[in-house]
Subunit: 238 residues, 2 copies
């Protein structure tokens, strides 16, 4: 299990709302920063425990700063669980998103519109780790994440479960706001420079464009995701 043993990093992690299981604090240390950690743990209702210096040392090494926090590993769901349990009928598929900032922002937007799940391709994507937790502002804990070994197969599964699968494509003939998102829909967003993979585009039921002013490049992928997911949510809410 990953851990945080620097005092400054721990205070940042507490501020950022990282999923912390337990904080161990050495009984022999007393300073302002340790007091801050104790106060924050109390406020945030995070379990903390005063332990002998040796207990911290075993986890954090000899040159420790008197604290050790266990970070909860990210929990992933299976696509089957998600499908059995779908509520809003909106699934987000992230194909090869390389930037952790984009990944976090997109998971945050997906959570904001109560998506049933976010599928993240394992290959070629930024790792779904504590950095993404931070860039998602903790939203990573508010939406079900599915690690996909094979997006093409998972897309077939979604189709069989009655989902319409759409992909963003700057050259698509249909604009996103002309699509009917009221049915169960899975939306694929693709790589920052290459867009959605050709195979996945081919497998999609519909390609959707976001119109933009002439002479301007397409949008940043997390901006595109926010726009489309909010349109889907608005239509679903009626």
């Amino acid at each position: 299990m990953p851990g945080v043993s620097s005092l400054n990093a721990l205070i940042e992690a507490l501020k950022d709302g990282l999923p912390i299981n337990k904080v161990l604090i050495s009984r022999s240390r007393h300073d302002a920063k340790i007091a801050t950690v104790v106060r924050m743990c109390r406020e945030l209702r995070i379990v903390f425990q005063f332990v002998p210096a040796e207990a911290v040392e075993r986890k954090a090494g000899v040159k420790n700063q008197g604290v050790y926090a266990e970070i909860a590993p990210v929990s992933f769901f299976s696509l089957d669980t998600v499908l059995a349990d779908a509520k809003t009928g909106l699934v987000v598929i992230l194909d090869n998103i390389e930037d952790t900032g984009n990944l976090g922002a997109m998971i945050r937007s997906a959570a904001a519109v109560a998506s049933d799940a976010v599928l993240v391709s394992i290959r070629n994507s930024a790792p779904v780790n504590e950095t993404v937790w931070r860039t998602s502002a903790g939203a990573m804990g508010k939406v079900r994440l599915v690690q996909s070994r094979n997006l093409a197969m998972d897309i077939e599964k979604l189709k069989k479960a009655g989902f319409w699968v759409v992909a963003t494509d700057p050259h698509a003939k249909m604009n996103f706001y002309d699509f009917d998102f009221k049915s169960k829909t899975a939306v694929i967003f693709g790589n920052e420079s290459k867009g959605v993979s050709p195979l996945l585009k081919k497998n999609a039921d519909q390609l959707l464009a976001i119109p933009h002013a002439q002479g301007v490049e397409s949008l940043n992928v997390s901006a595109a995701a926010a726009i489309i997911l909010y349109e889907a949510w608005r239509q679903k809410k009626g």
Copy 2:
């Protein structure tokens, strides 16, 4: 004038569409990367010039790689010019955006909806530099940028020119899609953690919220900007 003298950085800058005035190439160098630079300059119609080694040395130092590219400085407009010339009646105000990625993505979204201008507060904002050019995917050259020394004063100016000034606020009673964006509108987006400054919120004609699922934090600021700017654009286009 800023310059690029590393071969790899220059190739990246050409790929990223950085605004390059001229590339100097030493006559005494011949290798695959220099050939790439020449080919890219031809394709992109960027002026390049073969010069004596000393001419590159004068710009790039003794340990140069045989190239030197002058980057065009970012050009800023005055608010008066922008107001005299407003076409779409949509102005974006960026109050204290600290992250260059967000700044670039927001300028890109502003350009995509043909905003008349983007005002960026000089104080406490990320500098509008080459990194932002890159994160904006070159959109920084497609929309008028105004450096604001005093956003409160510029907002008054916008109001006098007939603009409605709105600010995003998670606690606002009105949802963004209930606002009428057809009139001339300036939208303020605020700092990543603190939101729009209290003074600017007080000066705004209307505060707007983006609704989201319960238990989820507000959106990333560049996602919020994309959603609101696209709604404004859609309304304006009718």
